[in-house]
C-alpha cells in the first residue's frame, strides 16, 4: 500500500446531500455523524459541508426534478477520486414516491433515483437504514477511493 492509498484511507471527508426524502434518512446520517454513540469520526470519516473538500458524497432522498440539477452540479464540483453512497430506499429506487403511485401512472415530480443523475458506488438499503448500516456503507466506499490513480 503506497503512501497515496494510506493517506486516502486515513482521512475521508464525507458530505451529506439531502435530495428530498422524508427527513428520515438524513437525520439518521446526521445521527451517525454527530451522535457520540455512533461517531463516524472514529473510522477516520470527517464531516464537511464543502463539495470541494469531499471524497464521499452521502446522498439521501428520491431527487425531485428541481433537485436534479443542483445535485449534478455539486457532484461535478467534487475533485477526483470520489465515491457516492446512496442511503435509503428513496435514493436507491425511489421508494413509495416512485413505485406506489395511485392513478397518475408515473410520478413526474421525481427525477431520481440517484442513479439516474449521478453514478452510485455503494447502496445502503433501508427505510430508514440503521446508523450502523450507514457507517458500514460509507466505509465500503473507501476501496474505490484507495484504488483510484
Amino acid at each position: 500500500m503506497g503512501l497515496k492509498a494510506t493517506a486516502r484511507k486515513n482521512a475521508i471527508h464525507a458530505m451529506l446531500i439531502y435530495a428530498v426524502g422524508c427527513n428520515g434518512c438524513d437525520i439518521e446520517v446526521l445521527n451517525a455523524l454527530l451522535s457520540p454513540r455512533y461517531d463516524l469520526e472514529q473510522y477516520r470519516v470527517l464531516l464537511t459541508w464543502n463539495p470541494r473538500e469531499a471524497d464521499v458524497l452521502i446522498v439521501t432522498g428520491c431527487v425531485p426534478w428541481q433537485m436534479a440539477e443542483p445535485l449534478k452540479k455539486l457532484y461535478e464540483m467534487v475533485p477526483e477520486p470520489k465515491a457516492v453512497v446512496a442511503v435509503g430506499s428513496c435514493a436507491i429506487n425511489g421508494n413509495v414516491f416512485k413505485n406506489m403511485v395511485g392513478e397518475i401512472g408515473i410520478n413526474e415530480e421525481i427525477a431520481g433515483p440517484v442513479e439516474n443523475i449521478i453514478p452510485v458506488d455503494v447502496k445502503v438499503p433501508g427505510c430508514a437504514p440503521r446508523p450502523e448500516d450507514i457507517i458500514a456503507g460509507a466505509v465500503k466506499g473507501v476501496p474505490k477511493l484507495m484504488e483510484a490513480p
Binding site: A7, R8, Q42, R52, M77
Partner: protein
C-alpha cells in the same frame, strides 16, 4: 560574526525551523480534535487524521479549478499565505532577530496584519456553487425587494473579515506590546534578554530556563489572557468564527480551494496556529524556538501546546458570537490590554 557564516547559519536554521514547524504543526489539529472528542464523550479520529493524512490526501487529489473572479490570483493567495506565516514564524527564531530589524514587534504585527488581509482578498474572489449560482428557480417568485445586488456568501464573509481586521484583532496587538514595553525595547532579542538572560551564553546542548518570565507578573498574565482571546480571533476559531460561520457563510473565502490548494490551506492554517503559539512562548515565557538548541526548541514546542489545548476546550463549549457580542467583547478586552500595558510600564 563572519557574514558568510552568518548567512549559512541563517539559511540552515530557516530550513530546520521550517521542517520542524510543518511536521509539528500538522499534529496539532489532531490533538485538538481528540480533546474535543473526549469532551463530547466519543472516541474521535486518530491524532494524525485531521492534520497529516488530510493534507497528504488533498495533495493527492485530482485537479480542480476553483470558481473565482481571477482564478490565478485566488490560487496564488494560498502560497502567499504560507509564505507570510512562515516568515512570521522565522522572524521569531533567533537567527533572524538581527536581520533588518524584522525580529521585532513591527515584524510580527505587520505580517499578522498581512495574514488578515488575505482573508478579505480570498473572500472577495471566491464564488462557490453553494450560494447564488446554484441552479434554482427562486427568482420566479417575486420578492418584495427586487433588482438588488445578489452577493456571494463569500463576499459577505470578506466584509466580515474587514470588520474583524478593524476591531477584532486589536486586543492581540495590544497584548503583543506588553512584553516589549516590559523590556523597554522593540526587539525580540531584548525581550528574551530581560526574561531569560542565561540564554545568550549557553551552549547548544543546554536548556536555558527563564529567570523572570513576564507571564508570572500581573500585567504579563493579563496580557497573556488577552493574547489568547486575540489568538482565537486571528485564527477565526469559535466563538469568533463569524467570518467562516457554518450557518451562513459556510467556510467563507476558503470555500473554493480544492485538492492541492486545500492541502495548502490546511498547511497555512496549522502553521499559523503553531507560529502564534510559539511566538507566545517566546515572548511571554522567554523560551525562543532556536533550531540549533534541541532542548530549547523542544521545550518551546511542548509549551506551545498550551494555547491549542486551551482553545480546543473553549471551542468545544462556545457558540459562534455575532458582531452584537464581538464589539463589546473586543472593547472590554482592549481595555484589559491597555490596563496591562499601563501596568507593564512599572515593571
Amino acid at each position: 560574526m563572519d557574514p558568510v557564516l552568518f548567512i549559512a547559519g541563517l539559511i540552515l536554521s530557516s530550513i530546520v525551523a521550517t521542517i520542524i514547524a510543518i511536521f509539528y504543526s500538522l499534529v496539532l489539529p489532531g490533538i485538538e480534535r481528540k480533546l474535543q472528542a473526549r469532551v463530547q464523550q466519543r472516541i474521535g479520529p486518530p491524532v494524525l487524521t485531521p492534520g497529516w493524512w488530510a493534507v497528504l490526501k488533498f495533495w493527492y487529489k485530482g485537479k480542480a479549478e476553483p470558481i473565482a473572479q481571477m482564478p490565478l490570483f485566488y490560487k496564488s493567495l494560498i502560497w502567499l499565505g504560507i509564505a507570510v506565516v512562515l516568515l512570521l514564524f522565522l522572524f521569531s527564531t533567533p537567527y533572524w532577530w538581527v536581520v533588518l530589524g524584522w525580529g521585532s514587534v513591527l515584524g510580527i504585527a505587520g505580517f499578522l496584519k498581512l495574514e488578515e488581509v488575505l482573508y478579505v482578498l480570498m473572500g472577495s474572489q471566491s464564488q462557490s456553487i453553494l450560494t447564488t449560482p446554484m441552479p434554482m428557480n427562486d427568482l420566479v417568485k417575486g420578492a418584495k425587494v427586487k433588482g438588488v445586488l445578489r452577493e456571494f456568501v463569500e463576499q459577505h464573509s470578506a466584509e466580515r473579515a474587514l470588520k474583524m481586521m478593524a476591531v477584532g484583532s486589536l486586543p492581540l496587538y495590544i497584548a503583543l506590546l506588553v512584553p516589549f514595553v516590559a523590556a523597554r525595547s522593540g526587539m525580540i532579542s531584548d525581550v528574551i534578554r530581560a526574561q531569560n538572560p542565561v540564554y545568550f551564553n549557553s551552549s547548544w546542548l543546554s536548556l536555558p530556563l527563564p529567570s523572570n518570565p513576564v507571564i508570572l507578573t500581573v500585567p504579563g498574565f493579563l496580557a497573556a489572557v488577552v493574547y489568547f482571546v486575540g489568538y482565537l480571533m486571528l485564527l477565526n476559531e469559535k466563538p469568533f468564527s463569524i467570518l467562516k460561520a457554518k450557518v451562513d457563510v459556510i467556510e467563507g473565502g476558503v470555500l473554493e480551494y480544492a485538492s492541492k490548494l486545500r492541502a495548502g490551506y490546511y498547511l497555512m492554517r496549522n502553521l499559523l496556529l503553531f507560529a502564534l503559539s510559539s511566538i507566545f512562548v517566546t515572548l511571554f515565557i522567554g523560551i525562543p524556538f532556536d533550531p540549533f538548541m534541541p532542548l530549547c526548541f523542544i521545550l518551546n514546542m511542548i509549551l506551545s501546546l498550551i494555547l491549542p489545548i486551551a482553545m480546543a476546550i473553549l471551542v468545544a463549549f462556545s457558540p459562534i458570537l455575532t458582531f452584537r457580542q464581538i464589539y463589546p467583547a473586543t472593547v472590554g478586552l482592549s481595555a484589559l490590554g491597555v490596563l496591562a500595558l499601563i501596568l507593564s510600564v512599572s515593571l
